[in-house]
Amino acid sequence: MTKLTDKTALVTGASRGIGAAIAKRLAADGARVAITYTKGADAAAQVVKEIETAGGKAIAIQADAADAKAVIAAVDKTVKTFGGLDILVNNAGTAIPKPFVEATLEEMDRVIDINLRGVFIATQAALRHLKDGGRVINIGSSVGERNMTPGLAAYSATKGAVKMFTQGLSREVGSRGITVNTVQPGPIDTDLNPVAGDWATPQIANTALKRYGRVEDVAALVAFVASPEASYITGTSLTVDGGTNA
């Protein structure tokens, strides 16, 4: 018996990177896990396979976070497949790093649609099913609170918005024991922000621990917030940024 036995989790954008690590970790803690993906069908299938090989239960559902119908259908399919929903992890996100003055309207809309509108849609759909004592865990960013990185103005604005959404929503669902929190990663080694990339050096310099984080580091914090031990933590932002924002 592990701490998430008999719980069902939906993790958006989980074919790779932080999302994939969260899905695997929640499954390792005993949860049945549904993951969504946009294009990475093979990668998503691989995540499901890894969870199943380890003795867990998982399904992958194609749903672009910007596509409201697809997101709502993904929530419904999760509930139908596993008989309920306890944990929603709004992980799907995108960044289009560039000087803001050069950003096109399409790029602005894409960042808002996935990082903010997508969170609204998935959360509202999930709340219709979420059990008492459930969890909404939004993956924000350390730049949603303090941004020292040029090129991320629009991205950081959406993550700041998620932080306030978290606060506001926690008030509306607290009486059901549902907690709503934001986990704010700092620089984490992923395909989107590789430790080997040009952007890494200043980001490492900004951390207290003088290294990049790993996707497992973020998954560990999400697993804690999902666990019964964190049942009194709500409406807040938890950073996992190696001291970047300290």
């Binding site: 008030r171 207290a208 964190a230 933590i233 938890l238 190696g242 970047t244």
Partner: protein, 248 residues
């Protein structure tokens, strides 16, 4: 699960309340726990006995955190027991003073800063030789540091100082692999906090909150055990609110 097997931990102010719950949580996760107390040997020994009863390792240590050299004395006692390695420091010992501005004396003010700020600062300083790569320091902040709740201005200022120390300590000690964080409880039912024990206080507490229940020490201890563990290895410089969504 939180795993602290083979780790050594010091919890100050561990004879009761949040300190007691934290000592028990760390011990259940496998750590050897040094149970510090200042004035309640009987209660500290009962925490030690509880830990030993489930097969854990613990010892009680006495030191006066209001004394100028209290932290120094405690650090020497800790070194004598754990030798060269302390993995977890929970600087929990603290005092509060529920008093209006007019009613706060210089003695009260100085004592609050001595116990709540000076002692944790010098405890970390004095323990630095035995803290190292992978060690975790956890301070106790408070909801009162972020929002005006209750008539607690001097106490709240000590906790504001803690939040500042968290950021600076984390940045200064990060290159050594030492993590520094705080937890900020809201209103918790303990001996120190009588706020939620009156009808009015209870109503006020619930009015602040998203989750609509008064916390017990165990609600806070879980977060402390998490921050102590390697699961939180990338979390540093943060004050984690554990307050049921109070005064967001």
């Amino acid at each position: 699960m939180t795993n602290l097997s083979g780790k050594t931990a010091l919890v100050t102010g561990a004879s009761r309340g949040i300190g007691r719950a934290s000592a028990l949580a760390l011990a259940r996760a496998g750590a050897q726990v040094l149970v510090h107390y200042s004035s309640s040997p009987g209660q500290a020994e009962s925490v030690v006995a509880d830990i030993r009863e489930f097969g854990g390792r613990a010892e009680a240590l006495k030191a006066d955190m209001a004394a100028v050299d209290g932290a120094h004395q405690l650090a020497r006692q800790v070194e004598a027991i754990v030798g060269s390695r302390l993995d977890v420091l929970v600087a929990n010992a603290g005092i509060s003073n529920y008093a209006a501005i007019e009613n706060t004396s210089i003695e009260d003010f100085d004592r609050l800063f001595a116990v709540n700020v000076r002692a944790p600062f010098f405890l970390v300083q004095q323990l630095l030789p035995i803290l190292g790569e992978g060690s975790s320091v956890i301070f106790l902040s408070s909801l009162a540091a972020h929002a005006a709740v209750g008539t607690l201005s001097a106490y709240a200022a000590t906790k504001g100082a803690i939040d500042t120390l968290v950021k600076h300590f984390a940045t200064e000690l990060g290159p050594r692999g030492i993590r520094v964080n705080a937890v900020a409880p809201g209103v918790v039912e303990t001996d120190m906090s009588s706020f939620a024990k009156t009808e009015q206080g209870r109503a006020a507490t619930l009015g602040l909150q998203a989750l609509k229940r008064v916390a017990g020490p165990d609600d806070i201890a879980g977060a402390i055990a998490f921050l102590a563990s390697d699961a939180a290895r990338w979390v540093t410089g943060d004050t984690l609110r554990v307050d049921g969504g109070s005064k967001l």
